[in-house]
């Protein structure tokens, strides 16, 4: 059926209830999940941005805004249904729409978690030690002496400009 065809309400008496139920559930789910993300994300980002808590708050809010936009937008886009002539069909249509929405929310959720992981990793990685243990240790006094000799050489060869 042509997606732009308007289906008269009398032919599909259950369509409007389906739409209403879908809208309520979709908005409720999105808001609930956004709250979870906001709270857990705050803990996480506080660790990542230890020295700037305002930055942590800002990043958190921005991510939540993005989450809202994507999910409510996607929910609105897939809302349109072709028809619900019986209660059974109404239930099926509702289940299908909610299923599609939940799957997309799940994907967004894991993507968010991956983003958090990457942000955290980027902050951590500058502090980590070398990947392998050294095979040998030179006594520090010989190297320090040699380094001092080199510095003396350099001072001789390249005298500091006035």
């Amino acid at each position: 059926m042509d997606p732009l065809t308007i289906v008269p309400v009398t032919q599909s008496p259950f369509l409007v209830p389906v739409y209403v139920a879908y809208a309520v559930i979709a908005i409720g789910l999105t808001v609930g999940l956004a709250r979870v993300l906001f709270r857990s994300g705050a803990v996480f980002l506080e660790d990542v941005f230890k020295d700037s808590p305002k930055m942590a708050e800002a990043v958190n809010r921005l991510l939540v805004v993005g989450f809202y936009l994507l999910n409510l937008g996607y929910a609105a886009l897939i809302m349109k249904a072709t028809g619900a002539h019986t209660t059974v069909e109404a239930a099926e249509v509702l289940a299908w729409k909610l299923g599609a929405l939940l799957v997309s929310l799940g994907v967004m959720h894991f993507f968010n978690m991956y983003l958090f992981y990457r942000i955290r990793r980027r902050g951590q990685i500058a502090m980590l030690p070398p990947p392998v243990a050294p095979q040998m240790r030179l006594p520090s006094d010989t190297r320090a002496h040699a380094f001092a000799v080199r510095q003396a050489h350099e001072a001789q060869a390249f005298p500091a400009h006035p």
């Binding site: 990685i125 070398p130 990947p131 392998v132 095979q135 040998m136 030179l138």
Partner: protein, 143 residues
């Protein structure tokens, strides 16, 4: 650790290419690139048994890494490849990374002929001009 010194084979074109790459790459630890044939390398780090045979990385604290370990530590120093140094040192990829590095290191002269100048028999003509300040030792031909 404030600085890492990378001691590479100054007579091998492949090693010089890698050295040039390290000189321009973004690092998380300051790198000093020194040819192992240079006078300074012999003076400072002559006690290292692998000097001249393997890639050697020495920190200013006196820690020494040689061979595949030195390769991983050089990666670790680069900002864009630090994550890779951890991956390649993990249990899954470590044997592969080690084999890869040993293969390249042992075949480095052969690989160098792919993009280096032709072999020069008279040591005076084939030189690496921009490395003159590093090599205070007698002239070595660029192979």
């Amino acid at each position: 650790m404030k600085r890492l010194t990378v001691l590479y084979d100054g007579t091998c074109a492949l090693c010089v290419r890698c050295r040039d790459f390290l000189a321009t790459a973004r690092t998380l630890v300051p790198l000093e690139l020194l040819s192992c044939q240079s006078h300074e390398a012999r003076m400072r780090d002559g006690a290292v048994p692998w000097l001249g045979e393997e890639l050697v990385v020495v920190s200013d604290d006196g820690d020494v890494w040689a061979g595949p370990a030195a390769f991983l530590v050089s990666l670790w120093a680069l900002a864009d490849y630090r994550e890779w140094s951890y991956r390649l040192s993990g249990p899954a990829l470590a044997p592969l990374a080690e084999r890869f590095f040993v293969a390249i290191s042992s075949q480095r002269r052969r690989i160098a002929t792919l993009f280096a100048k032709p072999r020069c028999e008279d040591g005076d003509v084939c030189r690496i001009p921009h490395l003159d300040h590093e090599a205070h030792s007698p002239r070595v031909p660029y192979r």
